[in-house]
Symmetry: C2
């Protein structure tokens, strides 16, 4: 890495000339010529180009509007400035692809209008962001504006007079890049952000770096690549490539923000590749950008990203992914599965050579399916800060995925939910992660920003399918503390044909309480679909209340215990840490059986949770929505298992997927669970054994060796006279 | 009609011979030969045939199981008997299409097993139905069983020995047909049903009639066609064709049950057509069966039926519609729009000549789109009992539909909701009708039957977008009373290019209260989408409380008035008539403006209700789910407008559709409503004038002439010095 940095300095100092060449950021002259020559050969790509041209035509038919900033995300003026950068971007490209001057003229006129406005702006009047912008309420949007506009400027540069260029660069690009890099009026929040290891910094460095490339300012490029101090030791794009992804290409905030983060990475990398090919930026760190994309693809279900941390409903169709797929396929044309991502989820191509080649190769039938695989996606720069485990069925027809979050906190977008599981099946999210509480771009909803309930509910532990101890959030909800630690994936066996298993551990979320979770995914000859056994072990020297919710999506069908239900009055479960948002819909105890069962259905399939309980176990059905003055929360539902006054407790649950329900034919089968009992048979420091019993005397016995050392040892336990022997941490015995 | 009956009698008495011919119910010998000859020419049809053969193969590979009945809908034994009739049906057809004896043998074996079981059965042990069956918990399912089995028997008849036929007919078909027609053990519920004008009777007459056709029992055919007394004056299939559909082909229970009702109509009609072509059954009553189908198609949105009365989520993909489309297209091959229904929504073809021709003609590219049109679908045998009005945009790209229910009660599946409106837009149900509370075929949910909440909530007036007076349901919830009356559609103008309007009236739901509703659908040059103006007029001599809810599907965005919200405690709105199921989530008054506004969004579009209010108007947000011990209700939400102590009140609401919200591109526009005021400008017995004002001084003035006579007169009113003149009942003035 060190040598590489030196090499780059050499490059920077040795080649002033190429900086002066234009059309060299997102396109080169040769690429534009190839695109123009291929017109008509790939209809899907022609369609994307014609959409860009339509957008450009629509833009130039409306008078230019460059208003004084007044509002936040979703507001009319905010949206105007946003649509302006798209308009310039589209017109710049339209000029290159058609040669029609009117498009260039439009960009020039708008840039001149901005060059008039920009110097007059102080900080934005909406004071919501700690990093306020001038044109937008937060500098982040200003960086995004500049990334697009730099490309537009590159596209029309040759049509401008020297005087025009001077005005635009002096009054707009330079002050904006300086502002993004340094801040203004003694507010150096921007400078801090610029040098952070954070996705906002990626946008900032891309914006400044691309401005440097297009305006021929080396020092901007250098600072963009190596931070304000130019050393590469504290900030800069290169260091971000080292720090923001784990060796597996996982971005610590989770897939939703990885989507957003990858955009400036690939667009700036493309510009660097064009201007400074010697850097071989796409090969940097063993091709980390491609790894980031393939990991992002793996962290999705039916095209939508897993809802870890602050996630909204986005996925492989997002425009950022169009950039990533088209730019990276152009550099890695051997990865034909990228084509199938574009084919299945993306409805447009970039109007670049990459977009053209993706469209062409899809048309040539070269796409091969993505293999969604089980895997551990390690977190942390060095891959040693836990990670996200994903179990997928070996038979892709089953279309199910089980996730376990055992990562580090995930920066400011992280949630306090160590060891959370989620289950996706049959095209739906069955056991759910709430994700974020935010109405992106809807100004009436907290100006499009995260709502207050994101903090009071969505980030709290109780919002997740994991253990809350004593009604307190992990790390007491303190991000400073949480950020110091990470969970660990202590064992995984994802290759097994007979079963897949993952074991994770968390020892810091609650001082004095050790938590472990084992998720086993087990096809059996007697159940309709693979079985999930979920074992959550809490161990402490003191007595605690352990709350374990299953947030489920579906319609309640039945439980096997008597319950009371809120009839004319409804009350909340608690007063803080997210509990204040939970209506208690029903509550009961199971005094007759040692296994409590809850069945719900989602679309045409049924799900039964069968869990080992005692007559003291409190069982509840919760509904989200209390203390939500602005109607920001969705009305989700949970099945809560509460154990009180326990030092050590093991939650053992059979998650059975069953049933076929055909509305068209009005037929149904297997709608009732086969599970008869789930029992913790043995629970010692050395071994925990769970047995789940099903109809017709079938059973699945899951044997766990608890100590973390010697995971490859041979183990054996004797239960009811029968000896169970296994190698490694987990044994599964099916009868 | 009289002559026709006589003609039919002649036919019955004149042609005993054709009854003895076999293969003549769903197929004729010639049709089977054509299907076999065309094998391989239409891949989509071959696919459907191969699915039937696969189903038949799957059936014959499992030992025959004909268990003693024990359970209700969704139960294992219930489902076994259901799958048995499908198995016989599939195997019968498979035998005809392949000539392979194994299929015929399977049907014969199973029929013999049933012939052993059936005579041993008393009434079914599950006592939930007033019309209990023997094989199934209700006789209805027994009729369905027999319809399928009669076809299977026809298909394999020629393979059976005389002795086999005797046993099967004597021990199974005859007693079952007798039971369906007469009842048993002094319980004559079946006989009553058989002669009713009701869809269960259609199944019963089809079952008995088809049994008569296949077993050569004329008296069965005669009774099926003309009722038990053979006169045609009280019961029978022919009379059902006269009584169960309005002249427009509307079935009084609503589209959901019309779907179910049409199945036995078309299948029995097909058998009659084959056996007694002289009857020209498909031409009967001016082709009422085709009208029934096309009306059913019109009463759908995006392939799903409007949720009027007891409706679940079903639509054009239902198997009943496959029967209707394939059988009727075979008789009306000139209606090429039927092909597009099959193409868009149906994933299979009947393995009959009709199915073949539909598949073939689709493959030949002959499908033309269905034109979904505005229309009034009259209710009542003579078309004079109100009806369902549907307003659709003239531009099909807008994809919206507005419905107004002003029909008669709709038999036992009717709801108490005169003048209900619903709004469908952008592919979604926006202002919703709850439909039924039922979990079809899910035994754990009240054995798959309607839940208790269907009566306590779904049928009540407050569950619907119409007026509830004094917290009491229309007709006090008394079906006897409700069935005596119907609403009236007093005016409609659905051809207007400038606007479409419908006016309906209800005077019996509440003695002493007259209710009118006007729905106007108005494209304007200044709003993004057509505007809906909704005027609900209540007139009475006494003081009342008027509750008007909008049940909406979407996420609350904002209101323009202060409100309190249930924080730690939630209470119900009332104690009976459905009110006991409603949590009051928020409540407020608008003391500062005369127009109260509520905005919500659904997917990528926004909807704003702006309604004329006073400071006394109570405004609430309601959520469904209280007093629901078994978790049967969905958690729907409503915006309620309550006026207290009013004799006369006019609710005037602007329903504005606006906004574009693109998650992929993260762009949004027009997310806030343009509506500034909605005002009842004039409200006299003669005229009511509503003015809705929008941004930039635009307005829409809706002038209504209130008296029902002279609807074609010329009217004029003077408002603020301006004279408004219009012809007919409604004038719309856009500024």
């Amino acid at each position: 890495m060190k040598r590489f940095v030196i090499g780059l300095f050499f490059v920077l100092e040795g080649c002033l000339c190429p900086f002066a060449q234009h059309l060299s950021l997102l396109f080169t002259r040769g690429e534009v010529e190839e695109i123009r020559a291929e017109k008509g050969t790939v209809p899907a790509f022609d369609q994307s180009v014609s959409e860009v041209l339509s957008a450009a035509d629509a833009a130039i038919n409306v008078p230019i509007s460059v208003p004084v900033p007044v509002d936040g995300g979703g507001g009319a003026v905010h949206e105007q400035h946003k649509s302006n950068y798209y308009a310039m971007f589209h017109c710049g490209i339209a000029y290159q692809l058609t040669g029609e001057k009117k498009y260039a003229q439009y960009v020039a006129d708008m840039l001149e209008a901005y060059a008039k406005l920009y110097p007059t702006l102080g900080f934005h009047p909406v004071r919501l962001s700690p990093v306020p912008g001038r044109l937008f309420w937060q500098t982040l949007n200003e960086s995004v504006w500049l990334v697009h506009t730099a490309i537009a400027y590159d596209c029309i540069y040759s049509t401008l007079s020297t005087q025009q260029r001077t005005i635009i660069e002096k009054n707009l690009f330079t002050p904006m890049a300086d502002f993004i890099m340094e801040g203004m009026d003694g507010n150096c929040a921007n400078n801090k952000t610029f040098n952070k290891m954070h996705n906002h910094a990626t946008w900032a460095t891309a914006a400044v770096g691309m401005t440097g490339l297009v305006t021929n300012r080396e020092e901007y490029v250098k600072k963009a690549l190596y931070g304000s101090d130019g050393t590469g030791k504290r900030g800069g794009f290169i260091r971000q490539m080292d720090y923001l992804f784990s060796p597996d290409g996982y971005f610590t905030e989770g897939a939703y923000y990885q989507r957003y983060a990858i955009w400036p990475f690939v667009i700036f990398a493309q510009c660097i590749e064009h201007k400074m090919p010697e850097l071989q930026i796409f090969n940097y760190r063993d091709g980390i950008l491609l790894k980031a994309l393939t990991t992002l693809i793996q962290l999705s279900y039916e095209g939508e990203f897993f809802h870890i941390n602050d996630a909204l409903q986005k996925g492989l169709s997002a425009q950022e992914l169009v950039y990533a797929v088209d730019i990276l396929y152009n550099h890695y044309p051997e990865d034909k599965s990228l084509l199938s991502v574009a084919k299945a989820y993306q409805h447009a191509y970039l109007p670049t050579i990459g977009g053209f080649r993706v469209a062409r190769d899809i048309a040539l039938g070269k796409a091969i399916p993505v293999v969604y695989r089980s895997g551990v996606f390690r977190d942390g720069r060095n891959g040693n800060e836990g990670g996200i485990a994903v179990i997928r069925s070996t038979d892709p027809k089953l279309n199910s995925a089980l996730t376990l979050k055992a990562s580090s906190h995930g920066l400011s977008h992280g949630h306090f939910d160590k060891l959370t599981m989620a289950y996706y099946d049959n095209g739906n999210e069955i056991l759910a992660d709430y994700g974020a509480s935010r109405f992106l771009n809807i100004e009436a909803k907290n100006k499009g920003h995260y709502t207050n309930e994101n903090r009071t509910f969505a980030k709290q532990t109780i919002a997740h399918n994991t253990l809350t101890v004593d009604e307190t959030t992990h790390f007491n909800g303190d991000i400073q503390v949480s950020s110091r630690y990470h969970s660990d994936i202590v064992y995984s066996n994802l290759e097994g044909k007979n079963f897949q298993v993952i074991v994770a551990k968390e020892t810091h979320a609650y001082p004095g309480v050790e938590m472990r979770r084992t998720l086993a995914y087990i096809p059996t000859p007697f159940l309709q679909f693979p079985l999930i056994l979920d074992v959550v072990q809490a161990t402490s020297n003191g007595e605690h209340q352990y709350d374990y919710p299953f947030w489920y999506n579906g319609q309640f069908v039945s439980v096997n215990f008597p319950y009371n239900k809120a009839k004319n009055e409804s009350k909340t479960l608690g007063t803080k840490n997210g509990y204040q948002h939970l209506w208690v819909e029903a509550w009961g105890h199971n005094e007759n059986q040692n296994t409590s069962r809850f069945t719900f259905f989602n679309r045409n399939r049924f799900y039964t949770l069968s869990t080992a309980t005692t007559p003291q176990t409190e069982l509840m059905i919760l509904r989200l929505g209390a203390n939500d003055p602005d109607f920001n929360l969705r009305n989700e539902t949970a099945f809560l298992i509460r154990e009180k006054g326990r030092k050590k407790h093991t939650f053992a649950t059979s998650i059975e997927t069953h049933g076929d329900y055909d509305v068209r034919m009005e037929t149904s089968c297997n709608l009732t669970s086969s599970c008869e009992e789930v029992k913790v048979v043995t629970d010692t420091p050395a071994y925990t054994v769970i047995r789940a019993t099903y109809k017709e005397r079938h059973s699945v016995t899951l044997c766990l060796s608890n100590p973390d050392d010697g995971t490859e040892n041979k183990h054996s336990v004797t239960i009811e006279g029968m000896v169970y022997t296994w190698n490694g941490r987990c044994g599964v015995f099916i009868k």
